[in-house]
């Protein structure tokens, strides 16, 4: 009898388990991938009336993948936009235009339109920090004109224009690292600033109609407190990674005044130490830049195997770097009036007494700071060739 009871119990338990399983499948809440719209890029722009125009790029699942390896397979993307009071409102209006559920977590790129950068985008950033689906590693770009144009671009070598931008952000060091996190940190105390790379839509061959278009990074927008405070040209942005001590391998081409011609160097390693020297009206920040370089191209008649010649060339290189950094700093401090390199933090750490005196008028102090730059470059290798190629021995200087 008791055994029968036990088996009855077992049967009951098994039946219960089986019936529970049907509840655990969760089929009623299923959402298949082709029922979702994964956003790959977001563009925002302020409308004339002060609202937000949100544009999203959605890769179309049918077109991605396939094709021969190595064969260019341009992906097709859908670009949709909607206008709303703020980001969240625009997003909900955008959802009404689409049959599929929008999915934010795969977004990598945020493109800011020209007007919104000028007028400020703090509220839009708040959306990205508050929403559970967005992430701080969203690379931010500023564009001239409408961000829709960038999103709508078909990319011959990548899945989408957003993917191009993301690749650019990771590969090219001058745009690297500007994610939402950096912008938030730089703007948090109201003192610092950050450069946002500016992108432009370019045509590969300008005269031909319907040519594939490309995206190029051209300079940067300097932002202070989520608002544009100035511009940096491509040339002015160039030394920014050096000053920020971002590991970088880049070219620099230096004119050699004495003999004429140019020598190009490959910067292996650049390291900048900043030292503030504030004393009363004297406000100096000293940059000491150390760099190691390789020669890539020698367009002069100088024999770089000669150590005396090499020293002279090093001096020219130093001068060139100093000049470039000074120009950048002039643009940053005088034109943009932005503390792009966190001098306030530097002063707070190195000269706290001076900082306490100046902290309330920091914005006025900023343009009066004098920048002193001293570069100390070492040429490690002068390339694979010993002497300038193709010049008769008599023509080479410094044997």
């Amino acid at each position: 009898m008791s055994r029968l009871m036990a088996s009855k119990k077992t049967v009951g338990a098994v039946l219960l388990l089986i019936s529970l399983q049907t509840c655990l499948t969760g089929c009623w809440g299923k959402r298949e991938i082709n029922e979702m719209s994964f956003i790959s890029g977001i563009g925002i722009e302020r409308t004339e009336s002060g609202q937000v125009e949100l544009s999203v790029q959605i890769p179309l699942p049918m077109q991605t993948g396939g094709g021969q390896p190595g064969e260019a397979n341009p992906g097709k993307n859908l670009v949709q936009s909607a206008i709303g009071i703020n980001m969240a409102d625009a997003l909900s209006k955008l959802q009404l235009k689409l049959s599929n559920q929008l999915f934010l977590a795969h977004n990598r790129v945020l493109i800011l339109g020209e007007r919104i950068v000028k007028q400020g985008f703090r509220e839009e950033v708040d959306f990205f920090t508050s929403h559970p689906g967005t992430r701080l590693r969203t690379y931010v770009f500023a564009t001239k004109g409408d961000p829709k144009l960038v999103l709508g671009l078909t990319a011959p070598n990548e899945r989408s224009s957003a993917e191009i931008l993301r690749e650019m952000a990771v590969q090219h060091r001058e745009v690297r690292g500007v994610t939402l996190k950096h912008i938030i940190i730089a703007s948090s105390q109201g003192l610092g600033g950050i450069q946002i790379p500016r992108i432009e839509v370019t045509k590969a061959q300008p005269d031909k109609e319907g040519q594939t278009q490309g995206i190029s990074v051209n300079g940067a927008v300097v932002v202070r407190g989520y608002k544009q405070s100035g511009d940096l040209s491509a040339q002015q942005v160039y030394p920014v990674p050096w000053i920020r001590n971002i590991e970088d391998s880049r070219m620099i081409t230096v004119p050699i005044r004495k003999t004429g011609g140019w020598i190009s160097f490959y910067l292996l390693k650049v390291h900048t130490v900043m030292q503030p020297r504030f004393q009363g009206q004297e406000r100096i920040i000293e940059f000491r830049i150390k760099a190691q370089t390789n020669v890539i191209q020698n367009g002069t008649v100088l024999n770089l195997m000669n150590t005396d010649v090499l020293e002279r060339v090093e001096e020219e290189l130093n001068k060139s770097i100093e000049q470039q950094v000074k120009q950048t700093m002039k643009a940053v401090l005088r034109n943009c009036k932005t503390d792009l390199f966190d001098f306030h933090d530097l002063l707070r750490r190195k000269q706290p007494a001076e900082w306490r005196k100046l902290q309330n008028q920091w914005q006025e102090v900023l343009p009066t700071i004098t920048i002193q730059v001293s570069a100390d470059c070492t040429i490690r290798r002068s390339g694979m060739s010993n002497a300038p190629i193709g010049i008769p021995k008599e023509g080479v200087k410094g044997k």
């Binding site: 994610t179 996190k181 948090s188």
Partner: protein, 363 residues
């Protein structure tokens, strides 16, 4: 009482580590930053003194009354009526605290991951799981902690390892900008967590290998070290905005991107969170259940496990209404609430015990 189990000191240390660290990884760094700014990594060191003091109290009390939990000590010292009242207050206290821990756990799951799932499913699911674990007894809890601890710790440090390239240690400077005070103030929120070492009182009677002192000290050291490491990561990754994120660790793990391939690792954080919270809630729950059983002199605590689990679920809705209230509670009230119950009142109890002893000697 049921057959008394035995746990090893190592298991006890693992349980304590979980009971404190599980929730200390995610919330407190932001709370500490608001007080201590760049010195936030020093704060856990100050706060650990509270932990050491609490541990000392528990050991002193258990030396006076070996094999008794704090609840039993209350009844022995203050008599059957007053003692039971105090013990009852402690049981309610742990019920309340544990329901808030449950809320903390649910809050993150709901706000970050399962925002479409009915909260009740998560709350009740977790509580049911904990109820099973507690019904299994102290040995089951000890073994669970011992098994999952290495997994969780290695996972956590692996995740932290991936963030190293993003770190900017200059955010930690200047140290002691405004003297010691900010870091001491920053020690207030973690003091809450360190005072939770008082839970040892419910575990100590089951440790019989005589190494409880050594291992609880190791547990304390491990908790302090983990908090310091996590705080160093938070401050060097977020600098001036460390206080702006509710769950900074979650946010920076999300930020990981290793060669465009290793991304979206927050699911692992969730794994740590769920497992850690499970052990933490279970250990607290065990305290509640054992405390209730001892207060009312029950022969077996198992029949009251499920009803008490139900009570936790209700308390979890009663005590905290929204996320803002939770933060307010953790930042402003919790430190005083928990430190009073777990450190100050036991201190008073110890003084009473000692004074009576002296009295008797003299008299």
């Amino acid at each position: 009482m049921p057959k008394k189990g035995t746990i090893s000191s190592v298991q006890m240390a693992a349980m304590l580590y979980f009971a404190i660290m599980a929730t200390a990884i995610l919330g407190p760094p932001a709370l500490m930053y608001t007080f201590a700014q760049q010195d936030m990594w020093i704060s856990p060191i100050w706060a650990s003194f509270i932990g050491a003091f609490t541990l000392l109290l528990v050991f002193r009390l258990s030396r006076e009354y070996p094999g008794q939990t704090y609840v039993q000590i209350c009844i022995t010292v203050c008599g059957p009526v007053l003692g039971r009242v105090i013990a009852g207050v402690y049981v309610l206290f742990y019920l309340h605290v544990n329901s808030i821990i449950l809320r903390e756990f649910v809050e993150l799951v709901v706000s970050k991951f399962l925002y479409n799932t009915p909260e009740m499913v998560i709350v009740a699911g977790m509580m049911l799981l904990c109820a099973f674990a507690v019904r299994g007894g102290i040995e089951v809890l000890g073994r669970i902690s011992q098994i999952v601890l290495p997994v969780i710790l290695s996972l956590l440090f692996l995740l932290l390892f991936f963030v190293i390239p993003e770190m900017n240690l200059t955010f930690m400077l200047p140290v002691f900008e405004d003297g010691l005070l900010p870091s001491l103030k920053g020690a207030i929120p973690p003091a809450t967590w360190f005072s939770e070492f008082f839970l040892l009182t419910f575990l100590l009677p089951f440790v019989r290998d005589g190494k409880a002192g050594k291992w609880s000290a190791i547990s304390l050291g491990a908790v302090m070290l983990s908090m310091v490491i996590v705080n160093i990561f938070v401050i060097s990754l977020f600098g001036p905005v460390s206080g702006s994120f509710g769950y900074p660790v979650m946010t920076f793990i999300e930020y990981i991107s290793i060669s465009n391939f290793l991304e979206h690792l927050e699911a692992f954080v969730m794994m740590i969170w769920v497992v850690g919270a499970f052990v933490k809630i279970s250990v607290f729950f065990y305290g509640v259940v054992l405390g209730t059983a001892q207060t009312f002199k029950l022969k077996d605590y198992r029949p009251i496990v499920l009803p008490l689990a139900g009570l936790h679920i209700v308390f979890n809705y009663w005590s905290i209404k929204n996320a803002s209230m939770l933060v307010y509670y953790l930042q402003k009230l919790d430190p005083f609430y928990l430190v009073t119950f777990q450190t100050l009142l036991p201190l008073v109890m110890l003084i009473v015990v000692k004074a009576r002893k002296n009295w008797r000697k003299q008299g």
